[in-house]
């Protein structure tokens, strides 16, 4: 062990390695106030009791601190999720205009641009709807003629 650190085996021999140090008396010259060691145990006891109380309240404060720290971001996240769910998934919005709204538009002569193709489609829809209506009526009339055994040619002659 001595070889690793290149120290002599008799390194403790102060006479040989530190003659000046070997000559002087080992004395503790540090002064201590009178009665210091008599009163110290009770001072330390009080501080230990105080530190126990402080430790408990410190733990409580630390718990509250983390609770508040956690509560704020969690609340914030919940609000974002709530609004996100409500506004990113739109509910069924009734886009159809009511009759009153249509009247207002017409009265105010709002310039509504209608594409020609849209107009043709609307007319065709209207015609097919009307012809369906008339078809229903025709069918009813024919049923009447058949049921009452009325000759169609005689009706035409009367006209």
């Amino acid at each position: 062990m001595g070889e690793k650190y290149h120290i002599p085996n008799d390194h403790d021999n102060l006479q040989k390695h530190a003659p000046w140090l070997a000559k002087i008396e080992k004395r503790n010259e540090f002064q201590v106030p009178a009665g210091y060691f008599d009163s110290l145990p009770s001072i330390i006891q009080e501080r230990c009791i105080e530190s126990s109380r402080t430790t408990i309240s410190e733990k409580l404060e630390r718990f509250k601190f983390y609770l508040y720290r956690l509560a704020i971001p969690v609340s914030f996240a919940a609000i974002i999720v709530f609004f996100g769910l409500n506004y990113l998934n739109p509910a069924d919005v009734d886009n159809d205009l009511t009759a009153a709204e249509i009247s207002i538009i017409l009265e105010e002569d709002v310039n509504i641009s209608i594409e020609e193709t849209m107009l043709i489609e609307a007319l065709m829809e209207n015609e097919s709807a009307q012809s369906a209506e008339f078809a229903d009526e025709d069918e009813g009339l024919i049923d009447y003629l058949i049921d009452n055994d009325i000759d169609l040619s005689s009706i035409i002659n009367e006209l």
Binding site: Y5, A18, L21, I24, V32, F37, I44, Q45
Partner: protein, 182 residues
Amino acid sequence: MSEYTDKELIEQFANPDTSSYAFNLLVRKYQERLYFHIRKIVIDHDDADDVLQNVFIKVFQHLGKFREDSNLYTWLYRIATNESLTFLKKKRAKYFLPMVDVENQLSSAIGSGVGYSGDEIQLKLQKAILKLPEKQRIVFNMKYYDEIKYEAMSKILNTSVGALKASYHHAVKKIESFVKDD
């Protein structure tokens, strides 16, 4: 001073009914040794008092968890040493002082004679010791003044016995050299 062994003190401390009494006895048993160990590191009495009280508060908080596989005395000394070194580090940081200036301050404190009653030779020795690096100073004090065995010192300072022997040898040589140069 105390009739109880360390083991008995620890057992009594574990019992809530005798905890305060046991701790009181423990303080009385070790206060002087720990105080002077700390005092030699931090020099000033008020600083040593602060550090010592902090040491015992830590002991109080952790004694319940103390593993009896290590010596109580070694454990106390280790806490005291670490607290003293931490104190010096904080002092340097607080005043933005390099190590040398802290040591000069400590040297001046001894030289002022306040709290120190040594004659010229003892004063010379203390100033020489203060010129040693921090850890080396602690090793020297523990070996030279407290006559702590290297094996115990090794556990306290968490350093190998060989390194401690080397440290002490070099410390002794340096002190001789400082004194001759002075």
